[in-house]
């Protein structure tokens, strides 16, 4: 039976739902970080054995998140689904490039989805190639390694830091990450001087940043 996709999924009709607000609303009752899952085992199975069950576990968990992200960037549900499928196909095809020591699966997926959006929706030729190049340069040098334990601790810390952002900082980060608004567009929309937009983002980044392990 054909039913209306949008009316069945109220969240999809509200693409402005904020992950910041979500993060806030769920802060205390759930033990911080309790719901995090370590995907490195599933990814290793995909990489080494082309394991479909592991791959589909990853897909089932992340596909709705990736689609919501792409919708927030301005794609229709149909385009978001198409790009989402493409993102997971890429994950399947490039699984051997995934290195858990260099960052988590969700960071990797975020980059894949963002790159597809910039490549195919914003039509920026050469973007993907430049990102590949940056990966190569990073690989060739002694960049900091992550372990899943550090990753988990960091996830918990980062959630706390997101909660600690001021309302305006959270709003500007959301407009940057989830609406892909330029500094100029944010300045116009909020009637705020460009310099103020930048300094808010600067401070927000410093607050969220983790002063890290193996920093050179």
């Amino acid at each position: 039976m054909a039913r209306n996709w949008l009316t069945m999924a109220p969240d999809f009709s509200n693409p402005k739902a904020s992950p910041f607000e979500t993060a806030r609303s769920m802060s205390s009752p759930v033990p911080a970080g309790a719901e995090i899952h370590d995907w490195s085992g599933d990814m290793a199975a995909v990489r080494n054995r082309r394991d479909r069950d592991s791959f589909m576990r990853i897909y089932d968990h992340f596909m709705p998140k990736v689609c919501l992200y792409l919708r927030n960037l301005g794609s229709t549900q149909a385009v978001a689904e198409e790009l989402g499928q493409e993102a997971f196909l890429r994950l399947w095809q490039r699984a051997d490039l995934f290195d858990p020591d260099r960052g988590s699966l969700y960071t990797w997926l975020f980059r894949i989805a963002r790159n597809l959006h910039i490549d195919l929706v914003r039509k920026n030729p050469g973007w993907q190639q430049v990102q590949d190049e940056l990966d190569h340069v990073a690989e060739a040098e002694d960049s900091p390694r992550y372990s899943s334990a550090e990753d988990h601790t960091e996830y918990v810390q980062l959630k706390r830091r997101i909660d600690a952002l001021s309302t305006v900082q959270a709003r500007l980060m959301r407009m940057s990450y989830f609406e892909a608004k330029t500094h100029q567009e944010i300045a116009v929309e909020l009637d705020m001087p460009l310099g103020t937009v930048k300094s808010h983002l600067r401070r927000a980044f410093l607050k969220l940043q983790t002063e890290v392990r193996g920093a050179r």
């Binding site: 050469g126 990073a138 980060m173």
Partner: protein, 225 residues
């Protein structure tokens, strides 16, 4: 040599978020190719994006639709062999283990071609040559002769300049190869190139430059920046 002037954190956030204008992103990427420190910061900004992606709480998918998409992806896996790792362009260019000095940063190649020797410079003002990216008027290469001073100017919006060869000095300091000048609209500056060799840089603007002096104002239509 490691760069001493880096991308502003707000620029890195925008780059990671995919919200930087294409012209500014091309210049930022040419710096990222040269700067390990900014690549590390970028990675951190992308982690923030990844964690925010993970924290999204989408509504339950309609079962029928989810099943259709799931099956169609499974069907496509058979025809999707592992993709070979993308080729490292800069490494492929290297001559005897060193980067080929004639090759442009990878990020600039879609706009200006592959090599410095292939660039078709246009005269813009005495001692100043310029090439605009054909499809993007606010992205351009500048070649400024040694010991030249540019007119004092500020910016309507942001200016991002990556030094590719040579060097210049202004009130903010000394800018040499690999350095980036990530300038706010409130900064007024007058770069002076150092003697010896021309300074080649790539710049992007998201609004026209502003020249305060009357002479510079007269020049502006000709300079066209």
């Amino acid at each position: 040599m490691s760069p001493r002037h880096h991308l502003d954190h707000s620029t890195l956030v925008a780059y990671a978020a995919g919200s930087l204008a294409l012209e500014l992103a091309a210049v930022a990427a040419s710096h990222l190719e040269a700067c390990a420190q900014c690549r590390q910061r970028l990675h951190e900004a992308e982690r923030i994006g990844g964690l925010l992606l993970e924290q999204q709480r989408p509504a339950q998918w309609p079962a029928e639709r989810a099943a259709t998409l799931r099956q169609s992806l499974l069907d496509r896996l058979d025809d999707a062999p592992a993709m070979p790792a993308p080729q490292a362009l800069a490494a492929a260019d290297s001559v005897a283990g060193r980067p080929d000095p004639d090759r442009l940063p990878v990020a600039l190649r879609p706009h200006f071609g592959d090599s410095y020797s292939g660039l078709k410079w246009r005269w813009m003002a005495p001692g100043v040559h310029c090439i605009r990216a054909p499809a993007h008027r606010n992205l351009f290469l500048l070649k400024i002769g040694p010991g030249r001073s540019m007119p004092v100017h500020s910016h309507g919006g942001s200016e991002l300049t990556q030094i590719l060869q040579g060097a210049y000095q202004d009130s903010l300091g000394h800018f040499g190869p690999g350095d980036v000048a990530d300038l706010d609209s409130d900064i007024q500056h007058q770069p002076v190139t150092l003697p010896g060799m021309p300074c080649i840089c790539v710049s992007a603007l998201d609004a026209p430059l502003r020249f305060p002096g009357w002479l510079a104002r007269k020049l502006q239509p000709y300079v066209g920046l």
